[in-house]
């Protein structure tokens, strides 16, 4: 019979949970890693990884039947024929939208670490000090110096390809060699630097894909099929990286199909004692005990679990004594930018080989170094240059043999970039339990009430127009702007709802990610975030998780938990 008592329990096996399992097992703890969905085994279960485009009946596209089955997923790119199996079922796991909120989930071992965009950027003190500087929400309880050694640590293990740029707003890391800019990007990067005196820069995207081998992992083979799982283990995922490390200790127990419904809480000891698990297949319930619990179920689901826990003590759930549990939901707003064509003589005689799984990045420059806008905070751009493919033929005039042969050849060079903007924390943006609506397992679902505000609206104008300005200044032709519209959640960067802080009356977690009301419960995923920055958040979850795990083990040894 399986032991039901462990040193530590980790809820969720995505980027944060994988790191928690690795760190805690490597530090000697016997760890139970719980995952609500199925197992996906590294390489073996990447069943579509080496398929060609023609191996899919609809060539990767969507059908009316898929749209009917996935009323949320269909709102953006995740509804597709190639890795549909890795996106959570909207039907099994519905939620309530007081306002439109697009929630794209991965309910399986590895979570969204299998499908993530892999863009990996450090936060700076411009981010950690932002709330204090402009009076939004509450101050972060940590600064860059607190997390910097942990960025170093997780970057070395995860493998981040990037270039050292010496920028205060985007600190350099422990990088592997960058994936370089292509000739079109290089041309525009040079001009941009000159035109804007180095204040606006195009740099290679910093990405969790290897350019040098790490143990058990090969360098990127430039297939750009990461989202199907990588047979070479070249990008960071739970499966390629943290899970094998945790398994190697001999101290990990991984349990898929384990839905954690509640954290068990002892009101006398003021400590959590374990968790209650509903088996997703047999629907039987089992309690597991542990001395420390890491909640890493993804931002909204971690808070969902807290909302359901210790309700005999706090009706609003574990961590609700602050009045902030469920509040301050954030994402990154995006889908605005500009693009154009490069009509340089000679550039048509240049091309590239290999499918680089990243592009370029333009670090934030707004509201920094003396710049002052009508809105707070800023945005960065992710973009790329390439040559047009056959799809240009749809809107062009032409039929026949000459048209066909022309469409089989690369067209003009184009360049474009989309801004990712910071969304301010706002107490009114919140999640609650909807006790009227139940999921497939009879559990109450989340209700989400979240909207962007005036600050984001003002920022979006710059997000479009700045890109056009930069492209035009750099000699790009036929520049056009776009704002394709944004609804919270589309960024798939859910943050907040159980924020860290210095004051238990205004925050759910302390500076070490401990729940104020239950110090042996740590929440280290996106739920803990106090503000959103404008850079992709996953690297920060990794660093915060490793830091919290180190602290937790030290506290266990001091008998403080």
């Amino acid at each position: 019979m399986q032991s039901q008592s462990f040193d530590a329990i980790v809820v969720g096996s995505g980027i944060s949970g994988g790191w928690a399992a690795k760190e805690l097992t490597e530090k000697g703890l016997r760890v139970l890693l719980l995952e609500r969905g199925k197992n996906i085994e590294h390489v073996k279960d990447y069943v579509n990884a080496t398929k060609a485009p023609w191996d899919y009946p609809h060539r990767g596209g969507r059908t009316q039947a898929m749209e009917r089955d996935y009323p949320v997923l269909k709102r953006d790119y995740p509804l597709n024929e190639k890795n549909l199996d890795w996106w959570a079922s909207d039907k099994d796991s519905p939620y309530t939208e007081h306002k439109r909120f697009d929630w794209y989930r991965g309910y399986h071992v590895g979570g969204r670490s299998l499908m993530w965009g892999r863009q990996s950027y450090r936060w700076s003190d411009f981010d950690f000090e932002a709330n204090a500087r402009d009076g939004s929400a509450i101050d972060w309880p940590i600064r860059y110096a607190d997390i910097q050694p942990w960025y170093d640590y997780v970057e070395r293990f995860a493998g981040i390809a990037g270039s050292r740029e010496g920028l205060a707003q985007l600190p350099d890391g422990e990088f592997q060699p960058a994936m370089p800019l292509n000739c079109g990007e290089e041309l525009i990067a040079g001009r941009l630097k000159t035109k804007f005196g180095g204040r606006r820069l195009i740099i290679p995207g910093r990405v969790a894909n290897l350019t040098q081998p790490l143990p058990g992992r090969s360098p990127c083979q430039y297939r750009n099929a990461c989202w199907l799982g990588c047979p070479f283990g070249s990008y960071f995922s739970t499966q390629s990286s943290t899970l094998p490390a945790a398994v190697a200790t001999g101290r990990l127990t991984l349990k898929p199909f384990a839905i954690v419904t509640e954290i068990l809480y002892d009101r006398d000891k003021k400590r959590a004692t374990g968790v209650r698990v509903l088996d997703a297949v047999t629907e039987t319930t089992t309690d597991y005990t542990a001395r420390v619990i890491f909640v890493c179920a993804s931002a909204l689901n971690s808070t969902w679990l807290l909302l359901r826990s210790a309700t005999d003590v706090w009706p609003g759930g574990l961590g609700s004594s602050s009045g902030e549990l469920g509040h301050n939901l954030m994402d990154h707003h995006f889908r605005a930018g500009a693009s154009g064509t490069l009509e340089e003589p000679g550039l048509d005689a240049k091309y590239f080989y290999g499918r680089r799984p990243t592009g370029f990045y333009i670090p934030r420059y707004r509201n920094l170094h003396g710049d002052k806008r009508q809105y707070l905070r800023g945005f960065g751009y992710q973009g790329g240059a390439s040559r047009q493919g056959w799809s240009r033929g749809v809107a062009e005039l032409g039929v026949g043999g000459g048209f066909k042969d022309a469409m089989a050849q690369p067209g003009k060079w184009t360049i474009g970039a989309t801004a990712f903007g910071e969304m301010l924390p706002n107490h009114a943006n919140r999640i609650t339990l909807d006790r009227e609506k139940k999921d497939k397992w009879g559990l109450p679902v989340l209700a989400i009430d979240c909207a962007t505000g005036e600050n984001e609206r003002l920022m979006r104008t710059d997000m479009m127009n700045d890109m056009a300005e930069m492209l035009e200044a750099s000699g790009v032709k036929q520049v056009r702007t776009y704002d394709n519209g944004y609804w919270p959640g589309m960024g798939i960067h859910e943050m907040g709802t159980a924020r860290m802080g210095r004051d238990p009356k205004r925050s759910v977690l302390n500076a070490h990610n401990q729940v104020w009301d239950a110090p042996n419960v740590f929440v280290t995923d996106g739920a803990c975030m106090v503000s959103a920055s404008c850079v992709n958040p996953s690297l920060t979850y990794m660093a915060l998780t490793a830091r919290a795990a180190d602290f937790a083990v030290a506290e266990l040894k001091r008998n403080n938990l």
């Binding site: 023609w54 009946p57 892999r118 390439s386 089989a408 050849q409």
Partner: protein, 211 residues
Amino acid sequence: MDISKDVEMTSNASEAIDRREAIKRVTLLLGGVALGGSGLVAACERAQRGAAAAGKGGGGPVGSFSAQEVALLDEVADTILPETKTPGAKAANVGAFMALMVTDSYTDRDAGVFRDGLRTLEQSGGGFMAKTPEQRLAQLEQLDREQKDYQDKKKRDDPPHFFRQMKELTLLGYFTSEIGGSQAMRYRETPGRFDPCVPYSPGETTWTAHA
């Protein structure tokens, strides 16, 4: 249905930004085919038959299209993208692909536009199948001008022109087929390296995308 200019520009902006952008591009292209409309239970069931037939080719019915209709679609596709130094759209079974996509992915409205268009082609001037290759090309060139003129002027929610649908599905079906992807263009499943800047000579073909 119609790939708007927005999407077109966005989709061409970069071959490889980040994974998400790359996927979005494919999905916008394909998703543009399927946005809106109501679900079709019957289409779902037909899809399974159709998918099998579309994969094999070989002249049978596909989805809601008869063998004769699929044959006609093959000829339309093969006039848009005929055999040159590389095989044409008929060899790549693009007729069956079109039938499958219209059956499974199109909304009722857009499938209706497509079917009406197909009927027009069947019936106009003695029928498309009865025409010589030169006559077929002339007819499709005329339709191409008509569709472009219509598409450039139409309002966002207006239905697409049937020949825009056929042309889009033909391009998609051909260049994502094995013949289109690995003969008309070049495919390396595992490139193994990234060369950010290499010489290019006119006539060299595009490197096919993977996923």
